[in-house]
Subunit: 129 residues, 2 copies
């Protein structure tokens, strides 16, 4: 496949697009992360989600330290080509570095943002630090 | 409720956060749009999704022209408070201005991005222009 599918993406001024990861089994929205051209190309080529870490300024394979990789079932793009949706099989059932199943574990309640989903695994045992 | 829940959001340099809309009934990811502080406050206050249009630089109630409003079931925030997830009931079953059910109607196939979801309604009949 030619690389022009990558040229169709409307990268922002930093060369990034927001990428939503959705769990293929449960349908739950797991994470919102960012991809640059290389991350999206690697996601496609390897079948595992890769992102661009804005804080570390580095390409990163999801799960490279935790083992909580994301096997990609499908990759989608939106109408104006500036957002990506990846449907994934989440290894270990944990997408968030906090040990929650997903990053969206807080809900807006009457008194503010409140956790309503449990920590499934102590993050210290995930990362060993 | 005090406004400090709005202060907990990590707005970007433009005062925005990406906001994912997910259909409450089907679980499908409908759109990725952007909210500023006012949009998120209005979403909470009215129970209908409001966004910030980066192209028009204006607050916008989803469906204000099309009638395809989004009634909010829940509002979530991610671990580092820089992305929002709104779970919605999508009026008319159409979230995209193109007349598709959702904006993510293109999938990456062997030969590039390909539409694999239908136009449900001619957009000229949605907007009357």
């Amino acid at each position: 496949m030619a690389a022009d599918w990558l040229d169709e993406v409307r990268w922002n001024a930093d060369g990034l697009v927001p990428a939503i990861a959705q769990d293929a089994a449960s349908g739950r929205v797991l994470t919102l992360a960012w991809m640059n051209r290389e991350a999206l190309a690697c996601t496609r080529a390897t079948g595992h989600a890769h992102y661009w870490s804005r804080s570390r300024q580095a390409l990163w394979q999801k799960g490279e330290r935790s083992g909580h990789r994301q096997a990609v079932r499908e990759i989608r793009i939106d109408c104006d080509a500036d957002a990506v949706l990846v449907v994934v099989e989440q290894t270990g059932g944990i997408a968030c570095h906090t040990g929650h199943a997903r990053c969206f574990f807080r809900r807006l309640e009457a008194d503010g943002w409140r956790e309503d989903e449990p920590v499934l695994r102590d993050p210290r045992t995930i990362y060993g630090d």
